[in-house]
């Protein structure tokens, strides 16, 4: 047996550049890009999920949109109901793709892939943000399909480059935000079975307590409060202002962007702290 060795241990000093290793923006960017590139390769190789997930928004637009459009029961301002609904359905499809992202991470943990990444020097924040940006890339593919559907259904889309850029930004921000939220939930629940249950419970309240399919103005007081703290409302608001001709914003584009960005940053910071716990 080896005797106790405390006298033999070299002083456990941190290297002078240990802090820089952890917080270097260049390292963060490099590792985020590495994660995103690998995810994009997988998406390109098997895009079936994107097409499978297009069925739901198609049903909302075709069935729900057509029926509710004929009722003329909702105060949608200058927009017809289709034009009002299309940005909401785009945001919904982004939400649905992103909110189950956490299950991929639990799956990667169960396969041992995540352990390998966690044993690498990559900053935890880069691992989380890489996944978030990857969700954004997937959501762009999904968004393109929703855009095509809206075009076919003669929604008056705004094709100006500035508006399209804003829509892209909104899609990526929303997907990154909800996928990071999903990763945070995965860190807490840790198993696929529990995650599936909680994922279903989260999705519907986020969707219905937002301005995706009806305006906040018609909601009862308590639901208005929930809708105002729901990030999906701000994503829909941003999309509604940019995606369709004649679209308007309730909160203001600056407010929408500020809330989505700050919520994303807060979630990335929290999830980065929680992330190591998923492999323990």
């Amino acid at each position: 047996m080896t005797p106790p060795t405390s006298k033999m241990l070299p002083a456990p000093a941190a290297r002078p550049n240990a802090w820089a290793d952890r917080y270097s923006p260049a390292v963060f960017l490099r590792d985020t890009t590495a994660i995103v590139s690998a995810e994009l390769v997988k998406l390109r190789r098997d895009p079936s999920e994107i097409f499978a997930r297009s069925i739901q928004p198609a049903l909302w637009l075709l069935v729900f949109g057509q029926v509710f459009g004929k009722l003329h029961a909702l105060p949608t301002g200058k927009l017809d109901y289709f034009s009002f609904l299309a940005p909401g359905i785009l945001a919904q499809s982004v939400l649905f793709i992103a909110i189950f992202y956490g299950i991929n991470v639990i799956w990667e943990r169960d396969l041992g892939i995540l352990q390998k990444l966690m044993a690498s020097p990559a900053p935890r924040g880069a691992l989380v943000f890489g996944k978030a940006v990857s969700a954004g890339m997937r959501a762009i593919a999904q968004g393109t399909i929703v855009y095509l559907m809206a075009f076919v259904m003669q929604v008056p889309l705004n094709w100006s480059p500035l508006a399209l850029g804003g829509v892209l930004l909104s899609i990526v921000l929303g997907a990154a935000l909800f996928s990071t939220f999903s990763l945070m939930v995965a860190c807490v629940v840790k198993t696929r079975e529990r995650f599936m249950g909680i994922g279903q419970v989260l999705t519907m309240p986020l969707f219905f307590a937002s301005n995706a399919i009806y305006p906040i103005s018609i909601m009862p007081g308590w639901l208005k409060v929930v809708a105002h703290i729901n990030p999906l409302s701000y994503q829909v608001d941003l999309l509604r202002a940019l995606m369709v001709i004649g679209g308007t914003t309730t909160f203001g584009i600056g407010t929408d962007l500020a809330i989505l960005t700050s919520t994303l940053i807060a979630l990335v910071l929290i999830t980065s702290k929680l992330y190591p716990s998923i492999v323990r």
Binding site: M1, T2, P3, P4, T5, S6, M8, L9, P10, P12, A13, A14, R15, A18, D21, R22, V27, R30, D31, T33, A34, I35, S37, A38, V41, K42, R45, D46, D110, L111, G112, I113, Q115, K116, L117, M118, A119, S120, P121, A122, P276, V279, R280
Partner: protein
């Protein structure tokens, strides 16, 4: 023991009263280990003895409840990022991504470990060649055999030329031919790069074949330590299986549902 006391510069891994508890269960209790540079060190013991917990603490995946350790001269507590940069890790589970090719799996880690862009392709091709899987470079990993996956994972862990390599049951679920291939590559790795290797295994023949030093763990502590010959002498037997039984006990199987499920999942993925 006949070995000379190592100096701190000879030491690659050192633990000092390293301890990890899960609630009231002490999985690893005040572990003191010294592993010399360039050594292949085997950590043996029944399931639940604390081998994987020890590796998880040394690889910074699990914080210790007490004590400390250094890996390649860096503290797992004060400089975990430095430790991660200095080591490679092959987990018990299959950590290669089946949806990516062998090359793409290695590229991901080459980027994460900061291998310079101009060197990446050569480093990856060299690593694949070293492990004897160059021909499968562009095939999806899900089409690889079990032995090829393990060799790919070792290649992945060695891309950044770490000083220390941790392998948690690297041959679990492999057939004898694939086990031999992996062992040969590990020996070659040590010969070519002088890498210090800490591995866990249940296979006593593997431990005898590969390891310069062996520690047998039981209930979170080291029950015996030495070369295979020294352990045989201590246990007064010529069989390594008898050495294991002598030090770990005949009824030492503490395998739980999770252990079995994980081992079977790994074996299933390895085909």
């Amino acid at each position: 023991m006949t070995m000379q006391e190592p100096t701190s510069t000879d030491i690659s891994i050192q633990t000092d009263r390293l301890t990890r508890s899960f609630g009231s269960l002490v999985a690893v209790k005040e572990l003191n280990l010294v592993i010399r540079s360039g050594e292949i060190f085997g950590l043996l013991g029944p399931n639940g003895a604390g081998k994987t917990t020890t590796i998880r603490m040394l690889t910074t995946l699990l914080p210790p409840s007490g004590g400390t350790a250094t890996v390649a001269g860096r503290s797992i507590l004060a400089d975990p990022v430095g430790v991660r940069k200095s080591m490679g890790y092959v987990s018990q589970m299959i950590s290669a991504d089946g949806a990516l090719s062998g090359f793409e799996n290695l590229l991901l880690f080459a980027r994460i470990y900061g291998v310079p862009k101009v060197e990446r392709r050569k480093r990856i091709d060299d690593a694949l060649g070293f492990m004897g899987i160059s021909e499968a470079r562009d095939k999806l990993v899900r089409t690889y055999s079990g032995g090829m996956i393990r060799r790919l994972e070792i290649a992945q862990s060695m891309l950044h030329r770490p000083e220390v390599l941790f392998l948690d049951e690297p041959t679990i679920g492999l057939d004898p031919a694939a086990r031999h291939q992996v062992r040969d590559r590990l020996k070659e790795l040590r010969r070519s790069f002088g890498t210090t290797i800490l591995l866990t295994t249940h296979d006593m023949d593997e431990a005898e074949d590969l390891c310069d030093q062996i520690a047998i763990m039981k209930s979170g502590v080291i029950a015996a330590e030495g070369s295979s010959e020294e352990l045989k002498r201590q246990a007064n037997t010529s069989s390594m299986d008898q050495v294991f039984i002598h030090f770990a006990g005949e009824f030492s199987d503490t395998t739980n549902f999770k252990d079995v499920a994980r081992a079977r999942r790994t074996a299933k993925r390895l085909g």
